[in-house]
């Protein structure tokens, strides 16, 4: 067995540890207020990190080719969990979405599993149907239907952000697998149409879009989070307020340790924090793409690229939201935002990539 890509491993560990530090800084005030324990989120995220690292180690030892055979079962389990979670009484509601299996204070988000499960399935599908893929109806359509079904189930929770990540990462995989460019133009058109439909179905989304264009129109309602995020980034300035010195985490920004962790990093560490985060992420993506390119196995190639694409898309979506380039979608920042399922699944994904790296 060859060695894993240590550079990637180090980037991942550094980013996760940095995340734990910033989660502590961002959450301590809320944590003290809610649980009378300023270290609660720190302890939990630390625990998730340890679990995640163990899983990463195990997964990095497991030959990725085994997933090729188990891909259908994995996808099936993921679908089952997604169906279960939307059944009232089984899934619990958090932040307006029925997306959790609650176990005490902790919880499992099946949509996080689906994110990985569908990548494995798509990698298998695309690598074993290289000929049919040029045919839109016979090749592309079936895998799109699977993604659309996953998307639909997640939208029942509802969780637009995760749904979009799943859909877009499949499209990303289709893109590298050699589907004609004209297809993506059509997909873009359908996507816009779909977006319009979604907005009609749930008018709060249009408020988010309006508040994105001008958050000050409704500073206490839909523009609230955007403004509070800007209040964190702006006054921090290029040098930041110093580690642990954020003002916005003092109840101004709700749940600062989750979606808006990046604005707290910016507030406390200024441009330095932004560069640390960006360099670590870019480093991870660079190593991953390199692994994907070096990998001779088409399934492995697609698997690594799918995971990378998904992470990159989610990362950039989160950052774009936080800095006000894109309307609020409710997507977490991989490795940095607080959340057990998200961190553990991200680390497992990295374990898979590291295992593939042994092949190169």
């Amino acid at each position: 067995m060859k060695k894993i890509d240590y550079k990637l491993f180090i980037f991942v560990v550094l980013l996760s540890l940095f995340g734990i530090l910033m989660i502590y800084s961002a959450s301590s005030i809320w944590s003290e207020y809610k649980f009378a324990d300023e270290f609660r989120y720190l302890k939990l995220q630390g625990l998730y990190f340890i679990i995640g690292m163990i899983m990463l180690y195990i997964v990095s030892k497991v030959d990725y080719r085994k997933y090729l055979k188990k891909a259908n079962i994995i996808l099936g389990i993921c679908f089952l969990l997604l169906i279960l979670v939307i059944i009232p009484g089984v899934g619990t509601i958090r932040n307006g979405s029925r997306s959790w299996f609650g176990i005490g204070g902790m919880g499992i988000q099946p949509s996080e599993f689906m994110k990985l499960g569908i990548i494995i399935f798509a990698a298998k599908y695309l690598s074993s149907n290289t000929k049919e893929i040029k045919n839109i109806v016979k090749g592309v359509f079936p895998i799109l239907m699977v993604a659309a079904l996953a998307f639909a189930l997640i939208m029942l929770q509802p969780d637009l952000g995760t749904g979009a990540i799943i859909l877009v990462s499949i499209i990303g995989l289709l893109f590298v697998s050699g589907v004609n460019m004209s297809f993506f133009i059509k997909i873009g058109a359908i996507g816009l149409l779909g977006l319009a439909m979604l907005i009609i179905a749930a008018p709060y989304r249009i408020r988010r879009i309006i508040s994105f264009i001008n958050p000050w129109t409704d500073p206490l309602g839909s523009g609230f989070q955007s403004i509070q995020s800007l209040y964190a980034i702006g006054p921090g300035g290029l040098l930041g307020m110093g580690l642990f010195n954020s003002v916005q985490k003092h109840f101004y920004l709700p749940e600062p340790q989750t979606d808006f962790i990046f604005s707290i990093i910016s507030e406390e560490l200024g441009i330095l924090g932004i560069l640390i985060v960006s360099i670590l992420f870019i480093g991870i993506f660079y190593r991953c793409i390199k692994i994907a390119i070096k990998c001779d196995n088409l399934f492995g190639k697609y698997l690594v690229f799918g995971i990378t694409f998904q992470l990159a898309f989610q990362t950039l979506l989160n950052l774009a939201v936080v800095v006000g380039l894109v309307p609020i979608t409710g997507v977490t920042l991989p490795f940095l935002s607080y959340g057990g399922s998200s961190l553990i699944l991200s680390l497992i994904s990295m374990g898979i990539v590291l295992n593939v790296s042994r092949d190169t």
């Binding site: 800007l230 003092h250 774009a320 380039l325």
Partner: protein, 636 residues
């Protein structure tokens, strides 16, 4: 070949990722650099709470930097409800200490506001109460400095100074007029708070409050206190409706003192009516001046060379016919043959009617205008009245005649003293003023200084000298003798004016006045005193107002350090010689009808009624002029 295509697309993807990262970083830099100021300000407003600290209100000084209004530092209770953790204890203890019901206190403590003042019970606390509150050591309970206006001389100069309300805002007088200057700027202790209002452990920012501008007045407090004392005495002795006095420097228009009764205590303004507080009588009241107005007629006649005071004679038969009216002299039977100087000394009405006729209405009224009557003097105080002068078209024989001796016109005290100052200071009409300068609070260096303002030249220097000397002889030889001061050349003129109500003269209701100045050859100070409807006294300006003016003038001599005049400068202005006169028969007569006969006696009334039942000494006895005559009053 197939792999190559995949790799190109993967690398393309990575390039796009890099581009997007750069976009995000650029946006962050854009926010942190270009929107920094805007967002910092907005967020600072969001994060910070201010504990306001009041700047001291400017001090008001008299001309010698005697403090007339300053501030006492007190503390006030300020609550920041969100920071109060022990709400129950705060409610209980605070309500006990400042004497508010627990219910009331609970409202303050639980109010959804960033900063709460307990008004008014928690304002301006004494030190022992503040100490008790500080000893509680309650979080979220603050004591902030708040100053309270202090008037060390209480009612002294109250109408000019005015008063301030609970928030130290000027509500009348100079306090109102110069409120913008006097008010300091608020400073603050700015602290950062979280979204729930709790104090954050970030540094507090202290912004120093800015004290208000100080004001230096032209007032001389020594003279002012003399005026206040004399008015108080007049009030207790004479029980008048109103009383007022003004002291002015005739050579600049600076007001040295100004007061009136009723007055008020600025610290306890709640106990007075708005009329009492707002009516600054020396500039607001207007009434018929009576004989003091004769100075204007005299000055005009002299300026126009229409009379030779010493050599021309006038015969007063007791009355004069004007058109269809008969105008009586105030002295029954008249003054007989007199020089025009004696006409002035005796304040003889028919004599002044004669002067008025010589002058003619156009000239007389044009001089009245030039002396500043019928328009505001422009003194730097609020609430000045204009007075009323006949419209020239409506002036007939009668109006010309009465105006010449001060009836039928209505003037304010400030117009009167300003005009007379011009008549005796060499002919220059100055605008009166009370604010000498505005001072920078730290160093007391002047920011803005008022200079004397010449309105116009009214009469020549020579005429003015003659007027002053004529008025000096009124004091040495005539109706103003009660203002005579040993060793000083005092000039003056009495005034006795009937008050008008609903267009008719009121019986037995007079405003008695005296305007006096010294030294007559080089006037340094002018005093005007008016007493409205005094009781139990002969109703003459010379007997009522002149002694008051004299007392004030005596204090002015000390306050302004005016030297004695060298004696015998002019022979004929010697000390008035004592004369013997015959006691008139007034028993059984109506009091009003014999007023003129009793002039020059010190009359002491007992009993009440309109008729004289008894007199002592008896008629026909020879007594010193100015002796006491006791009269018993009763009904017929």
């Amino acid at each position: 070949m197939f792999f190559k295509d995949i790799h190109i697309r993967m690398r393309l993807f990575f390039v796009i990722v890099i581009i997007l990262f750069l976009t995000v970083i650029s946006k962050v830099i854009y926010i942190q650099v270009f929107e920094y100021d805007k967002l910092s300000k907005l967020s600072s407003d969001l994060w910070s709470r201010n504990l306001p600290i009041e700047g001291n209100r400017g001090i008001i000084y008299d001309r010698n930097f005697t403090i007339l209004a300053d501030n006492i530092t007190t503390t006030s209770l300020v609550l920041i409800p969100n920071q109060i953790k022990e709400k129950e204890r705060a409610i209980k203890e605070l309500s006990k200490i400042i004497g508010v019901s627990e219910e009331e206190m609970s409202k303050h403590v639980n109010k959804k506001t960033s900063i709460e003042r307990v008004h008014p019970e928690g304002r301006r606390l004494s030190f022992d109460i503040a100490d008790k509150i500080a000893a509680l050591n309650l979080e979220g309970v603050y004591l902030v400095k708040e100053s309270k206006r202090n008037y060390p001389y209480d009612k002294n100069l109250s109408h000019v100074l005015g008063y301030v309300g609970i928030d130290n805002q000027g509500l009348s007088g100079l306090e109102l007029q110069y409120n913008e200057y006097l008010t300091g700027e608020y400073g603050s202790i700015k602290y950062f708070s979280d979204a729930k209002g709790n104090k954050l452990k970030l540094n507090e920012i202290y912004e120093e409050p800015q004290d208000g501008v100080n004001i230096l007045l032209t007032i001389n407090n020594e003279i002012q206190m003399s005026v206040e004392r004399e008015l108080d005495n007049a009030l207790s002795k004479l029980n008048p409706e109103k009383a007022l006095a003004i002291v002015m420097d005739p050579n600049s228009g600076e007001i040295l003192a100004m007061s009136s009764r009723p007055n008020f205590s600025p610290s306890n303004y709640q106990d007075y009516t708005l009329e009492e507080i707002n009516r600054n009588l020396p500039i607001w009241m207007n009434y018929e001046p009576g004989s003091t107005f004769k100075i204007i007629t005299l000055a005009t006649a002299l300026e126009e060379n229409l009379v030779d005071l010493e050599n021309e004679h006038f015969y007063d038969g007791g009355s004069v016919r004007v058109a269809n009216a008969k105008i009586k002299c105030w002295k029954a039977g008249g003054h007989g043959d007199q020089t025009f100087l004696q006409v002035v000394e005796n304040s003889c009405n028919p004599g002044f009617v004669a002067l008025g006729r010589r002058i003619g209405k156009e000239k007389l009224f044009s001089y009245i205008d030039k002396f500043g009557f019928g328009e505001k003097t422009g003194i730097d105080l609020n609430g000045e009245a204009t007075g009323i002068i006949f419209d020239l078209d409506n002036v007939g024989e009668v109006e010309l005649a009465t105006t010449a001796f001060g009836q039928g016109v209505s003037v304010t005290p400030i117009q009167q003293i300003t005009a007379v100052s011009a008549a005796i200071n060499g002919g220059k009409l100055y605008k009166p003023y009370v604010v000498k300068s505005l001072l920078e609070p730290e160093t007391n260096s002047p920011i803005l200084t008022n200079e004397k303002t010449l309105v116009r030249n009214v009469i020549s220097n020579e005429t003015s000298k003659k007027v002053a000397l004529a008025l000096e002889s009124v004091v040495t030889n005539g109706s103003g003798r009660n203002a005579y001061i040993e060793g000083y050349r005092v000039g003056g003129k009495t005034g006795t004016a009937q008050k008008v109500k609903d267009g008719a003269y009121m019986q037995g209701n007079y405003i008695l006045s005296f305007i006096g100045f010294l030294p007559a050859d080089n006037p340094k100070v002018v005093v005007y005193v008016a007493i409205d409807n005094p009781k139990g006294v002969v109703q003459y300006g010379g007997t009522v107002a002149a002694p008051i003016a004299k007392a004030i003038l005596e204090d002015c001599i000390t306050a302004l350090d005016i030297k004695k005049s060298s004696k015998g400068t002019e022979k004929k202005y010697q000390l008035w010689e004592k004369k013997y006169v015959t006691v008139p028969d007034v028993t059984g007569k109506k009091l009003n009808s014999v007023k003129g006969l009793l002039y020059g006696f010190d009359v002491n009334y007992t009993g009440s009624g309109e008729y004289i039942k008894f007199q002592s000494p008896k008629a026909g006895e020879r007594v010193l002029e100015g002796s006491k005559i006791r009269i018993l009053l009763g009904d017929k």
